[in-house]
Symmetry: C2
Subunit: 511 residues, 2 copies
């Protein structure tokens, strides 16, 4: 057995299949590289098969030795060689420069995410369609759930469950959250269904091959099976099993929950429960994957609400995952947290009843430009209701929204220029321009959806600098160099229309 740096390597062993191997058998492996030791948990994959997965981060000679409560699996030793990484492997995405991201090899990573919460629980045909969509789309991160989802537009039972047993609560029709607190269930939370998790493995690998990060949602409130209210012992057992399987995939992030505070509101899990769950994730993840947690309540009248939000200052939270529709708060959040600000839900492009799901394509595109220029990152979702009842945001399928190609245009600009912005000015309002400054001095300004200024003076530009200027039409996806040299006092004529951005490229001083 040999492998490559930053790619998962898996070892398979035979062991007992009687009793309940998921709880009866403890399996660990200590990996050694020179003086380093990395300990990982193994897992039972059904049919008497036990597996150990590992993600090496060094080229060269490695060794591991197992420890197990089961004598057959104890003291197994293997030597293996790790070769240099494949050209498309860059390691895990990590926080870089405090508020941005880079892969472990130093390549910057610019998140352009979308949402397909339970595409992984749909029919094989639908999953194939979704993977084809991802292959063609500009998104390099997807928010998706481990557990199936029960909510408006999501009332079909999945083909397979994570635990042995069958649900007791099958209902149909419109669903308003009242049944989300399941007190009786038909599942044995001590017995995992390997088929369920093998499918998840394959989905993560398939996305990884397309260069897509999986923001894996570990818990969520949209439940009628009891998976959201298993209790701490079962929650921790599930996390340990899941992470033994998936932590060795380089393209995984952990989203502890979607709308974690809603889980408290409906009685599934106390808001105080999450510290222990975060600690478990950190203990079971020897690689340091990104991890955060996403809110339900987004205070309209205040910048933030520390009584409802999980405290993203905590050390185990790598980046701030926020649901909010108001991008001008991003500079304030950056100042508050000094971590990457990821607006993982800022309304979705679509035509649903719900305010969160009926944004125009123009407004969805605008959210991305606002987030980027303010120094943060936004996440896309598409909520057009199709004739077959599917919605990309939940089920995957085919993307049809007009924001997709505009987001692709923005991504290409960001990536070509390696743009990571700090906001210019720490506070702003809707009527201020969103403006960010990059490390090379480039200033990107977005004028927004409501502005039709026919000229502007960009006094936000640093004094005593001069710039060449590109005028960007973010909706029509054009970039036009202006025949001017501008500074903070230059009056720049503009076409009087919305959705414009300006790129100010610093002219290097020649003396």
């Amino acid at each position: 057995m040999a492998g490559k740096k930053w790619q998962m390597i898996e070892w398979t062993f035979e062991g007992p299949h009687t009793g309940n191997p998921f709880v009866d058998v403890e399996l660990w492996a200590d990996f050694y590289f020179k003086h380093r030791k990395v300990t990982v948990r193994g897992f039972y994959d059904g049919n008497g098969v036990y597996k150990i997965r590992f993600l090496p981060d060094e080229e060269g000679s490695w060794r591991f030795e197992t420890r197990s409560s089961c004598p057959e699996l104890d003291h197994i030793e293997r030597l293996f060689e790790v070769a240099a990484q494949a050209p498309d492997q860059h390691g895990l995405v990590q926080v870089d420069k405090e508020t941005h991201f880079a892969f472990q090899d130093g390549t910057p990573y610019f998140p352009f995410g979308t949402t397909a919460y339970v595409w992984n629980h749909q029919s094989p045909e639908m999953q194939q369609k979704t993977l084809a969509s991802f292959a063609a789309a500009p998104f390099n991160k997807v928010r998706m759930c481990v557990f199936p989802k029960y909510y408006d537009y999501n009332t079909t039972e999945p083909a397979i469950y994570p635990f042995e047993g069958q649900p007791l609560h099958i209902s149909d029709g419109h669903f308003d959250g009242k049944d989300w607190m399941v007190k009786e269930n038909g599942f044995d939370f001590t017995r995992f269904v390997p088929d369920f998790f093998q499918q998840l493995d394959q989905q993560i690998v398939a996305l990884g091959e397309m260069g897509i990060q999986v923001d894996l949602i570990l818990f969520h409130p949209y439940d009628h099976w009891g998976f959201a209210s298993m209790g701490e012992e079962a929650d921790l057992r599930y996390l340990r099993y899941l992470l033994a399987r998936v932590a060795a995939f380089p393209n995984v992030w952990f989203a502890l929950a979607n709308e974690y505070d809603l889980m408290a509101l409906v009685g599934q899990k106390e808001r105080t429960a999450w510290d222990e769950l975060f600690k478990c994730v950190k203990e079971e993840d020897p690689y340091g994957h990104l991890a955060s947690i996403h809110n339900f309540y987004h205070p309209p009248l205040h910048f933030t609400d520390h009584t409802h939000w999980y405290d993203h200052h905590k050390s185990w939270v790598s980046h701030v995952s926020i649901q909010h529709d108001t991008m001008f708060f991003v500079p304030g959040w950056l100042k508050e947290y000094r971590k990457p600000i990821m607006i993982d839900e800022c309304r979705y492009e679509g035509n649903l009843n719900h305010g969160w799901g009926n944004l125009t394509a123009e407004a969805m595109t605008s959210q991305f430009w606002l987030a980027i220029c303010h120094g943060g990152y936004a996440t896309h979702g598409e909520t057009y209701l199709n004739e077959d009842g599917s919605i990309f945001w939940a089920h995957g399928g085919t993307l049809k929204g007009a924001s997709v190609e505009r987001i692709a245009f923005l991504r290409s600009l960001v990536e070509e220029n390696n743009w990571q912005f700090e906001p210019l000015g720490s506070e702003s309002s809707h009527w201020e321009t969103a403006a960010g400054i990059a490390e090379d001095g480039t200033v990107l300004v977005y004028l927004g959806a409501d502005s039709q200024a026919s000229f502007k003076i960009f006094d936000i530009l640093p004094e005593e600098k001069t710039y060449t200027v590109n005028l960007i039409d973010t909706w029509n996806m054009t970039t036009q160099p202006l025949e001017i040299v501008a500074d903070a006092a230059t009056k720049i004529a503009l076409p009087a229309k919305p959705y414009l951005a300006l790129q100010f490229t610093e002219i290097e001083s020649t003396y």
Copy 2:
């Protein structure tokens, strides 16, 4: 001399013209109607002419008697008859139903205001053009200044000043507020220029004849003459003189200041100065005109800011005059103040450099719908820069923005239906619909600029009520009755486009 109810009556007397009659001569008149006594101040109008103006609010026999420090003007007595009001006279606008407005005769008043800060200081030709524009426009309130304005796009000296003397500080070009604190000036603040104030009188009357309320701005920071920093004694003398002249006009409101906190920031007038100025206005106004004060600082990250805003809870503030761009705060402000909420500056339609002055027509129209449905009122302004350097918002002239006719459409709907809304739900966010409920149970919902919902369930509707529904396209100005009877659970199909509103008219129960 006789007059009509709710129309100004003026008496003229000869008196001394030597010395400084503006300060040397005190003149009062006590008006009697049956057992009532109303005291008003007279004023010197130049050339040895003194005037007393009065606004009677009762039909029948009135009498007045003067009191004066000058024997010629003392103890003059007149009897006069007041006839019934003319059909177009309804009295002063007052606060009605806590958060709305009505004339004194009970006719509801629905403010649809615009802004023309210093149209009254432009050339006679320009003033005529502006009056013609007002005659054709849907606006029934105009925000305008007593003093001339010195600011970007406003650097032309007026033909005439309010005080005798000449300015010492003539400058030109771009102006950033640094010179707004005038320590030396060339004016005698004890000597008013009657021509200046006669012109203002005529302008107020001309607007009154068109049914337009004058929201008269008494102080503002855009100054290079010293009018913004005269000191308390001169401020009070000015207010007494001005109110002796204009308080008898029924169509006047008093806006103590525009951007009052900016006047403190640039050193013109402390924020603590305003209580005395408000008290003076209340003392000199025997009729109870509406009065408020307008802020500069609009906190982006918070709902309100009591350290920067004047305390609109104070008894002499009739309504809350706010500068802010975020309409979803209106329900919170209504809850906080229980006074009418008037967003007197919510960005203007135009094409200027400044964020406050480059809103699209769509967004300007949207602000009005949002304000109304949230239970408040918005004020329009137009900031297209014309080739002659004029901007309607400052100089008046000709309106050309596309929001004007949309605001006319909204006004006609509101007036035809006598709509005064309380917000449905006290807190909301950008992604909630703006919805208000009127006294007759009508619910008006605005879906906003960013929404393209293809169907909606309006669970904000009161339970157990049924409605007929009109679909309103606020941009295309069409109203279409839907062939449905709806309640809070009805799924209503919608064209998937922005700028829609729905009017739910309650079906009266038949049992």
